[in-house]
Amino acid sequence: MMTLQRKFLSLFLIQIVAAWGATQAGEKKLQASSEVGETPLRMRQVELDTATDRVRRIFVGPNSNIYLLDSGNNRVLIFSPTWKLLRQISEIGQGPGALFDPYDMAVDRGGNVYVIDSKQRVQGFSAEGKFYGGFKYRGECLAIAVNGRGEYLLNQPELGSLISVYGPNGDYRRSFGALKTGATGRSKAVANRVHMSVTGHDDVYISFDHLGVLQKYDSSGRLQWEEAIPGEQAEKLRNIFWSDAADKSKYGIVLTTSYTGIPAFVVSFTTFFDESHDRLYVPLNDGSIYVADGRGKALRFLKQSGSRDFYNSIAVDSSGKLLVTSVWKGVFLIMPARPV
């Protein structure tokens, strides 16, 4: 009898200590998030010698050429490092080699371009603009990346994993990344919508658009770490998202603002890992850019004063300057060039 009482007592004490520890850890985490500093930014708009409409992706490819996905004009533009327009790849259309409302683009190490569009196609073009084929994928996919093995990484949560990997001919090879629970049906696709940045070693950095969560996977698809984007706004949006997921909303997510028919807030729009400086950049929906290191440790928020523009894509040019794109306003250089 005495032994049983002792056991209960020790369990009770352990629980109290554990609860206290968790509270302390939570407070520390909260403190840490509020301690992330801010660096003021200025933006300088890049004057382009052609009109663009809804630029959705920027890449700096080999030869330091800059690739823009000019989605409103259904084309890819390639610029020299000094912003001279070198060529246009593709144009509007629904047939092979044409683009129709393209969502995302990836550029491989040879400068070849891969585009996904609303006709559920992955289409490949050489750096010279020659169309060399493509394949159709199932379900919804808003993000593509390519790795050094010539494989395509598609964000297709409806298939049951975060990322599906296809071979160069569109043959399914494997998938990785566990889905976040809490949403069902079509909302599952929204809750698990991510953007990717692939390194030279084929590691994959991921940002969840609606959750404000970052992850790193190694080249075999093993999760290396997961971190939440700190800061009041990201936390608020994340909390709204999950608190309503359980009970209130028929969609499983909070009804806040509309996004392709499913209402949801966007926390982050894309992610980019700058290998040479070990910096992970994540543009957020308040116009700031969150910066972490390669292990996900929070470093800074880059913020503009007095602007509500937000950025949907980010890259580093050949001279190490950060470039961002605004859906409506085009391409900007971040000043100062190396803010962190």
Partner: protein
């Protein structure tokens, strides 16, 4: 006696059944001849072909079959009714026809709506675009248009589909497609949205009152326009109405009249229902019948950007633009 009556009735019923079967068989044969080979029930896609004779026959419903000989491309807007969304497509179709008819383009609005309703819209809006009443549903069947009857096709006169989209495409999208196929060159410099800045004069905008009535021009002077622009046409109306009520009852110190204008993407019927439910007086509430420059941006769904308040001075110039929080 009863037996004889019953037997006659049975014979009659059998004859009717056989007649119906024969009629159905004839119809299905006739339709299959008309439609040609159909792979499935989904709308036709890029590269699909329709039988040119069948197309000619379907167009002949409106006396338009000769258009296949005189034009290289047909742009067909399938529109179910005479509501605002259809009007927008028809207006843009007129513009495309004006620009590219010489290049071989013909544009039709095809509808299964009520002729009287459509005729009213044609008269009120002085429309010039050919409107084809698909009363027998031949074109719908031929081109596998969904039952909701909103679809857009660009096809060659030979019956080959070069563009197919459910609903009415964005103006810039259809412009680029038409330019590619008809003109052979896409003009990337064209901007579809006008950008308004503080100090600019806001021209009179074409609106209807939310309660109904003809389209009219609303000259804006010394007022505040709360403009609601959102991608989703059916959600959040209650929230917007609530937000507007807060604005109109708040003590902001402004003596200006507040006018609420919903973008043309908001359906009138649902708006009226919501406003009535919310007991909001319908006075000073309008639905735009045109785009409102860059304020009217269906993708601006980020917080604070899908609803703006535009302050306008006595000269009709914009003096302030305030993004308002989207309702939660």
């Amino acid at each position: 006696m009863i037996d004889r009556v019953l037997s006659t009735l049975l014979t009659l019923l059998s004859l009717i059944a056989v007649g119906l079967l024969a009629h159905n068989y004839y119809l299905s044969r006739s339709l299959s001849q008309t439609v040609g080979v159909i792979r499935s029930e989904s709308p036709l896609e890029y590269g699909d072909r329709v039988n040119q004779n069948a197309l000619q026959r379907a167009l002949d419903q409106g006396g338009y079959s000769d258009q296949l000989n005189s034009h290289r491309y047909l742009l067909l807007y399938f529109l179910p009714s005479a509501d605002f969304q259809d009007l927008k497509s028809i207006k843009y179709g007129e513009l495309l026809l004006q620009r590219y008819e010489d290049g071989g383009l013909q544009v039709f609005a095809v509808t299964n709506g009520q002729p009287a309703e459509i005729a009213g819209m044609v008269k009120n809006e002085s429309l010039t675009l050919p409107i084809l009443f698909d009363k027998d549903g031949l074109l719908k069947l031929l081109l596998r248009v969904p039952d909701h009857y909103r679809h857009t096709y660009l096809m060659s006169a030979a019956g080959e589909i070069v563009f197919s989209i459910t609903g009415a495409p964005q103006e810039d999208t259809i412009r680029q497609i038409v330019e590619k196929h008809v003109a052979g060159k896409i003009d990337y410099s064209e901007r579809t949205a006008e950008v308004y800045r503080v100090g600019d004069k806001l021209p009179a905008i074409r609106v209807i009152q939310v309660a109904g009535g003809p389209t009219r021009e609303l000259a804006l002077h010394d007022c505040e326009v709360v403009f609601v622009s959102a991608r989703c046409t059916s959600c959040q109306l209650h929230g917007y109405v609530q937000r507007y009520r807060e604005l109109t009852t708040s003590n902001s110190g402004s003596a200006k009249t507040r006018i609420l204008v919903f973008s043309q993407r908001f359906p009138q019927r649902e708006l009226v229902e919501d406003l009535t439910k919310g007991r909001v007086p319908l006075e000073h509430i309008y639905i735009a019948r045109q785009t409102l420059g860059d304020f009217d941006n269906e993708y601006r769904t980020k917080t604070g950007a899908s609803i703006v308040m535009i302050g306008i001075n006595q000269e009709g110039r914009i003096e302030k633009v305030t993004p308002l929080d989207a309702p939660n």
